[in-house]
Amino acid sequence: TVGAVALDQNGHTAAATSTGGMTNKNYNRIGDTPIIGAGTYANNATCAISCTGHGEYFMRAVVAYDVSCLIEYKGLSLQQACDEVVMQKLVRFGGEGGLIALNKAGEVVLSFNSEGMYRASKKNGEPTFVGIYR
């Protein structure tokens, strides 16, 4: 699965996700990627999110929209909301994976709870960050 989130000069955000699914998947199984709110979500008022991991768990936890809701209704920061959903809720569900997120202020969060996570980001004129985790 691959994905991207971005903030442009007009203060608008966007999110995109694309996947080939899981090896040996059957019965036209579909994961969270194309389900708006589960694997992909963007709202200028809160955040933009793209997820990756075991889609079934991301669907049950409605991960992307849940992060947005924690910001909108509970007033959490982007980092707090991502950690709450990925490191607490998703773990309770037994789901492996993570997400990338950013908000209108240009804050970028890379939150994950599993191995083999490939990430990159770049803000303004800062150096490009590329990371391969665990």
Partner: protein, 175 residues
């Protein structure tokens, strides 16, 4: 420069850091660097966030190292079925496709759904018809073939096991 930012990911359950060869590490980093640099360049030039995520994901779809587009894993039938979604944070418009085959860049199809459809999500043959009607590129099965992914699939195709991206050790059944 006004505040701009982009972040990308190349999947979960991919080859763990300790098992990457130096050549693989270099190749994956180059793929990530290319996508994030292109997206950032577009933003720096005044492009929209929607165009930036579209571009970054398209580049990752075109790179066989990543499980999307060209690098998609094999299904039980030995085919490639892809899903994609895109959403604009300004308008809250969204487009998504599920279970499409032979579409070269599923993210482009999701974008077309966002821009040219009254619907949010299309699937299967209908989504492919929509792609043809909007002039999107298709590719033959050979375009999506990758020897490493074929080997991974060969190891589990006679079982009920399915795996996340490149998962290295098959020790669980999910779903």
């Amino acid at each position: 420069m006004k505040n701009i930012a982009i972040a990308i990911h190349g999947g979960a359950g991919t080859i763990t850091k300790k098992n990457l060869t130096p050549e693989q590490d270099k190749a994956y980093r180059a793929g990530l660097q290319e996508a994030v640099t292109a997206g950032h360049g577009l933003l720096a030039a005044g492009g929209s966030a929607l165009d930036a995520v579209d571009l970054a994901v398209t580049l990752l779809e075109d790179n066989p190292l990543f499980n999307a587009g060209r690098g998609s894993v094999f299904t039980k039938e030995g085919k490639h079925e892809m899903d994609a979604a895109i959403m604009c944070g300004n308008t809250l418009e969204a487009g998504a496709v599920a279970g499409v085959r032979s579409v070269k860049n599923p993210i482009k199809l999701a974008r077309a759904v966002l821009e040219h459809s009254d619907h949010v999500m299309l699937s299967g043959y209908g989504a492919e018809d929509f792609a043809r009607n909007h002039g999107l590129a298709f590719a033959p099965e050979a375009y999506f073939f990758d020897a490493h992914r074929y080997k991974q699939w060969s190891e589990v195709r006679d079982s009920a096991v399915f795996m996340l991206d490149h998962t290295e050790q098959v020790d669980a059944k999910f779903g």
